[in-house]
């Protein structure tokens, strides 16, 4: 599904990713953990194509195609989704309208027919029901006045309706209390499927109680420094990142 080879990237003059390699098979969920400043968010922005993140070496191959030459909206059309650490507010635009614009854009890209208003409403309601989200959220402006938990649930809803093949979840647990964490975790787990891969970026192990990963990687100083199964996350929770910081330095 996704193959990252020797990826180097910089922001401004600072090199953040320093030769990162990673391979994710279809249907797998990988977790990336690491200390602050290791390059976790940079990785998510490089994969989704944000301006200002310059790839200086290496490659990312997604479904056999060169991901890095695609515009962000093309990546979305191809099935790449990023759940933002800090979802952005868009005043005056209802969540419903935003979702419809997004879904119809990717459907158009994928050569599928666009939804009309009625069909879309039906489609969204099926998804909100599965994810146990109150339809009232759809009427509110995108992320405006949302609590931390509501924002993250809205991200999961967007992921559900856009039906991606590869989703990056960037610190989805930040700003969530225990109950919200469980709800979001269960929502993401409900979206696991054999043809969908996920990359879960997190600082803490607790999210991985709800989204159980196939593989866990430790990112330190712009490189993957350790890889293991879900038990690696539990070890990290106990021992912290201190050993890796030394190894990287």
């Amino acid at each position: 599904m996704l193959e990252i080879k020797n990826l180097h990237a910089k922001v401004g003059d600072t090199e953040i990713l320093k030769g990162l390699s990673l391979n994710i098979e279809a249907g797998q969920v990988h977790a990336i953990m690491g200390p602050n400043g290791a390059g976790k968010s940079t990785l998510s922005y490089v994969l989704s194509g944000r301006d200002g993140y310059e790839v200086t070496a290496g490659s990312v191959t997604y479904k056999g195609k060169d991901l890095l030459t695609m515009e962000p909206e093309v990546r979305a059309g191809e099935g790449v989704f990023l759940a933002f650490q800090y979802p952005v507010e868009i005043p005056g635009v209802s969540t419903m309208n935003f979702l419809k614009a997004a879904v119809n854009s990717v459907r158009k890209y994928r050569g599928e027919s666009e939804f009309d208003a009625m069909d879309f409403l039906k489609f969204v309601r099926e998804q909100t029901k599965i994810l146990n989200i109150n339809d009232e959220m759809l009427k509110r402006a995108v992320n405006v006045g949302f609590s931390g938990g509501e924002k993250k649930r809205a991200e999961v809803l967007q992921m559900a309706v856009l039906n991606p093949s590869f989703a990056v979840l960037d610190e989805t647990d930040s700003g969530l209390d225990v109950d919200a964490l469980r709800i979001v975790g269960e929502g993401v787990t409900a979206l696991r499927s054999p043809d969908r891969s996920m990359l879960v970026i997190t600082h803490y192990q607790r999210l991985l109680d709800y989204i159980v990963p196939d593989m866990v990687h430790v990112l330190a100083d712009g490189k993957i420094v350790d890889t293991g199964d879900k038990n690696l996350a539990i070890e990290l929770e106990k021992n912290g990142y201190a050993n890796y910081a030394e190894a990287a330095a």
Binding site: R50, E73, G92, V93, N97, A101, Q158, L162
Partner: protein
């Protein structure tokens, strides 16, 4: 000789001049270039106007000669040569139009397409030869039904030149009663040379059965560059009037100076919605319409109400301040505005709310969006007069900037001469954030679509005031106006 006699002599002499001047040939389709009394007599004769109206035009012209073009708006343009324009030309004959849509500017057609305008309406808008205007309304019967329904309620809706003939008492009573002929440079010019426009009268207690739209009589009368509109809502009546069209209008006349007068009596209300999409000039700022408009409503009666809604996306220069004179006790004035400027466009627009009566209230929501190298100014006046006991106003001005080379300015004037009056003003300035654009694009929405979405969200409070049939097209228009503003 006393003054009255000398006036009469002057008039007789000028009539003589008219009689033997070049303009005696009223079969001519066009008056020569330039502006003088003869041209005004020619226009008046063409329209077969009564003497009082000709006199009114001449008075306006004489006054105009004593005035100077105003330069206080924050707009710049080369001097206008008023003698280098035509002030009267007959509507083009349908035979001069293009043979079919194949002969029409493809850029224009692309815009029609984006707005979702049906094919037969595109033909009418582009002036294609021999297209029946009735086709716009699907069939002759729809147009007829429309006329019948209005007639049944006693509503008068016709070109103002026709109203001068058919309802002279109404026109004489109200024309110039809100915007006097001496009001301002451009309104005075309009009073002297106006060619046509709309006239509406809603009788007492009548709720106008449909939205009145100039769209209904597109091409039916070529209103030209000096349009004059007069709407009277008699006691207890209600009407919604739509002006303009979302489709781009091409016009060879650079200067447009329209006047709109609204008169609202006791317990009546008028909702006046405008979508203005005149040619804005090209991306280098060449060409484009100068749109210098005077719009004013007199809320004369108690509990009367006027609501102005405007979406201004066109014209090289826009200079307009739709205003309300809140004379009747408890009368209400509203102004909802979206002004979008891109490339080298300039807009200086806003409103005036003059509170005279007790417990009058007004609400202003102005949204300015500037992109490219454009300049957008909100200029507004809220004035509480000594007798405006308990009057109140709330003003909200929001500016949105796209890019680094545009400007947004807010110039609110507030004058209060009554201690019990309340005036509130809020203003914000923001930019479309890179993070907002990226968020949309990550969800598959293209950059241009994202701008349209974000800007429509910013304008939502104003857009929702538009009548349904306008709102959808107006939303698309927002996107089209800002094409090429990012990236």
């Amino acid at each position: 000789m006393n003054a009255a006699v000398s006036d009469t002599v002057d008039q007789v002499q000028s009539v003589e001049k008219y009689k033997y001047g070049f303009v005696t040939d009223i079969e001519a389709d066009q008056a020569p270039k330039g502006l003088n009394e003869d041209i005004i007599r020619f226009i008046s004769a063409k329209k077969e106007e009564p003497e009082w109206l000709l006199e009114w035009r001449l008075k306006a012209y004489a006054h105009w000669l004593t005035m100077e073009e105003p330069h206080w708006p924050k707009v710049t343009y080369p001097p206008i040569d008023y003698q280098d324009s035509y002030y009267y030309s007959a509507p083009k004959s349908p035979d001069e139009g293009p043979e079919s849509l194949d002969d029409v500017d493809p850029e224009l057609l692309a815009t029609y397409e984006k707005l979702g305008i049906p094919l037969y309406e595109q033909e009418v808008l582009a002036g294609v030869k021999n297209v029946a205007v009735d086709a716009v309304f699907d069939s002759v019967s729809v147009a007829t039904t429309f006329k019948d329904a209005l007639a049944k309620e006693g509503v008068i809706f016709c070109p103002i030149s026709e109203a001068v003939k058919e309802h002279p008492e109404l026109v004489k009573q109200y024309l110039g009663s809100v915007v006097p002929y001496s009001d301002n440079y451009f309104a005075t010019l309009n009073s002297a040379v106006f060619t046509d426009g709309s006239f509406v009268y809603i009788p007492k207690g009548v709720n106008c059965p449909m939205e009145l739209s100039t769209y209904f009589r597109i091409n039916a009368s070529n209103t030209g560059q000096f349009e004059r509109t007069l709407i009277i809502a008699d006691e207890g009546s209600h009407v919604s009037y739509l002006e303009g069209c979302t489709a781009p209008m091409r016009d060879e006349n650079q200067l447009h100076a329209a006047v709109v007068e609204l008169v609202v009596l006791d317990d009546a209300d008028i909702k006046y919605s405008t979508v203005q999409n005149w040619y804005p000039g090209d991306e280098n700022g060449v060409g484009g319409i100068y749109n210098f408009v005077t719009k004013r409503a007199a809320c004369r009666g108690k509990n009367s109400k006027v609501s102005w809604t405007q979406v201004e996306t066109g014209s090289a220069i826009t200079w307009k301040y739709p205003s309300c004179i809140l004379q009747g006790d408890n009368s209400v004035g509203e102004f909802y505005s979206v002004a979008i400027t891109n490339n080298y466009q300039q807009a200086d627009t806003g409103t005036k709310m003059i509170h005279l009566g007790k417990n009058t209230s007004s609400r202003i929501i102005a949204k300015g969006i500037s992109a490219g190298k454009s300049q957008s100014t909100y200029r507004g006046l809220v004035k509480m007069m000594p007798k405006a006991e308990g009057a109140r106003n709330h003003t909200q001005c929001d500016s949105l900037l796209i890019g680094k080379e545009c400007g947004a300015h807010t110039v609110p004037y507030i004058e209060s001469r009554n201690k019990s009056a309340k005036v509130e003003h809020e203003a914000t300035t923001s930019k479309i954030g890179d993070d907002q654009l990226f968020y949309c694009r990550q969800r598959g929405i293209s950059e241009e679509e994202a701008v349209a979405l974000i800007v429509n969200g910013f304008c939502r409070e104003v857009m929702q005031e538009l009548p349904m049939e306008f709102a959808v097209e107006a939303q698309k228009l927002v996107g089209i106006s800002l094409e090429g503003s990012v990236g």
